[in-house]
Amino acid sequence: MSATGIIETQTLEVSLGPQHPSTHGVFRMDVVLDGEYVVKLKPVMGYLHRNHEQIAEKLNWLGSMPYTDRLDYFCSMTNNWAYALAVEKMTGLKVPERAEYIRVIMAELTRLLNHSCAIGFLISDAGAWFTPVLYAIRERELILDFFEAVSGARMMCNYMRFGGVRVDLDDATLAMARNLVERWPKFLDEFEALLLGNEVFAARAQGVGILPRELAVNGSISGPVARASGVEYDIRKVDKYGVYERFDFRVPVGEKGDTFDRFMIRILEMRESVKILQQALRDIPAGPFIASETKLRNFKVPAGDGYGRIEAPKGELGFYLVSDGGAKPCRYHVRPPSFINLTVLEDMCLGQKVADAVIILGSIDIVLGEVDR
């Protein structure tokens, strides 16, 4: 018994380590616990570090396109698009209309599958025995079959090229996409019925891991995590890249910034993505699917540096490229949203319990391929 009459307890140093069921990959959190409360939390990463950026410096510009699939292996299409966008910005390649529409369709489908699986994993971190994840994965399978029919691979699509896409959407695949998009509103209603009113999850998620708005902006947090804290910033609306300004869609913004808000923002964003997909599939123009002047081999980028970024499902995914005019990039840097969103993990978890720390990590939705590159 200490002088103040409170029983002196020892803190417990636990490493929710690389081998842990709910860290979504090889990610470790050195947690100091006082009973169940988190006193200190230091994320440790680098277990999946393949030095993707050094490999890219040895390959020519097209050579590292298949490697971008392996960054955030959940959304390979948006990774490809970000890299292609950065190179197109530096070379000034003009992308034909049809290719822009195809890119929007692929990116929004990737957003759907990423958000639904992120929510599913979040709820199964909270304890539901994988039922929501398997509903989300059931829908994801259909999207992956569509990706396989178009690009050739389910997850490692390697689909986009500088100046357009590699394979065109013929009417069979377009029909496949249309019936896909018809299924999603029904699935979203079922998903909301399962999770939205659930008091147990509401009790677990509301008021947990609150991220204040200033810290979100100051900590360069981007994507649904920032929008849940009230930051009105969606790169599709700010940068107006691709043909996004032709579609009318809204950007949901929360105000409390806790885990429940991050969960809700992703559900609302999925509904907006379905709206974009319906409009894009309705008025996709005919025409070439890749710029005619693009060269497949010894493609050279004029000297200089450039930074292209897109609104990837997890946040702002940017590529900073420096070229000395040669066939190989002189510097190739990826701005990964998951890696930077982890900066504030400790601020959110202090004072919460172990069970909450796991859910807060789930609500940030990280993928280790992107965190460690």
């Binding site: 990463m45 680098g46 570090h49 030095n51 950026e53 050094q54 810290l215 902006v217 100051n218 900590g219 360069s220 947090i221 981007s222 930051v231 910033y233 700010v238 940068d239 200089g304 540096d305 450039g306 930074y307 970024r309 702002e316 940017g318 900073y320 420096v322 002189c330 510097r331 840097h333 701005r335 890696f339 930077i340 982890l342 900066t343 504030v344 460690d372 590159r373």
Partner: protein, 183 residues
């Protein structure tokens, strides 16, 4: 909207005695000593309010013998585009020091640690400068242009061409069967 780069430079020079120059592909190069002051100015200036530091990168220009740290700054409040801030430091590992901008933008914390880990750029004033991707006992900085990967970490199961040559040259762990000349 975002004032032009010249106006930004003049507004900085009006307040801070720093050497700010325009550098190709519209960015501002600032000398190391006044980088922190310039960053604070960019963040608090009512016309700019660049409160979102999107991307921090270190680039190794081996020909100019310098390592450049590049900051991409956006404004969430006014929703306007990138202002690129570049700070240069000599390549030698001892003198490669750059003032850390984490006190200004909390988001630079992990990215600066990564720049330190992969390039060896020491950030003065960084709250917790440790290696973030490589394991702590790792000695060298892998992303530098003159970095030679030690052979024993990993060799390709079927080395040929340049990897085989490097394997033989560095005498790393190479299976006997791979040592016969294949080419």
């Amino acid at each position: 909207m975002l004032p032009s780069l010249e106006q930004i430079r003049d507004s900085i020079l009006a307040v801070i005695p720093a050497t700010v120059e325009l550098v190709p592909t519209n960015s501002l190069r600032v000398d190391r000593e006044s980088a922190l002051a310039v960053a604070n100015f960019l963040k608090r200036d009512p016309k700019l309010r660049l409160d979102f530091c999107s991307c921090v990168t270190a680039v190794d220009y081996i020909k100019q013998d310098c390592i450049e740290v590049v900051y991409h700054l956006y404004s969430v409040a006014l929703k306007h585009g990138p202002v690129v801030l570049k700070v240069r430091a000599p390549r030698a590992v001892e003198q490669c020091r750059v003032p850390s901008l984490t006190p200004v933008w909390r988001g630079c914390e992990y990215q600066e640690r990564e720049a330190f880990d992969l390039y060896g750029v020491k950030f003065d004033g960084h709250p917790d400068l440790r290696r973030i991707l490589m394991w702590d006992e790792f000695v060298d900085h892998p992303m530098r242009k003159d970095y030679v990967a030690p052979m024993d970490y990993e060799w390709e199961p079927t080395p040929h061409g340049e990897t085989l040559a490097r394997a033989k040259a560095q005498g790393g762990v190479v299976p006997a069967s791979a040592l016969e000349a294949k080419k």
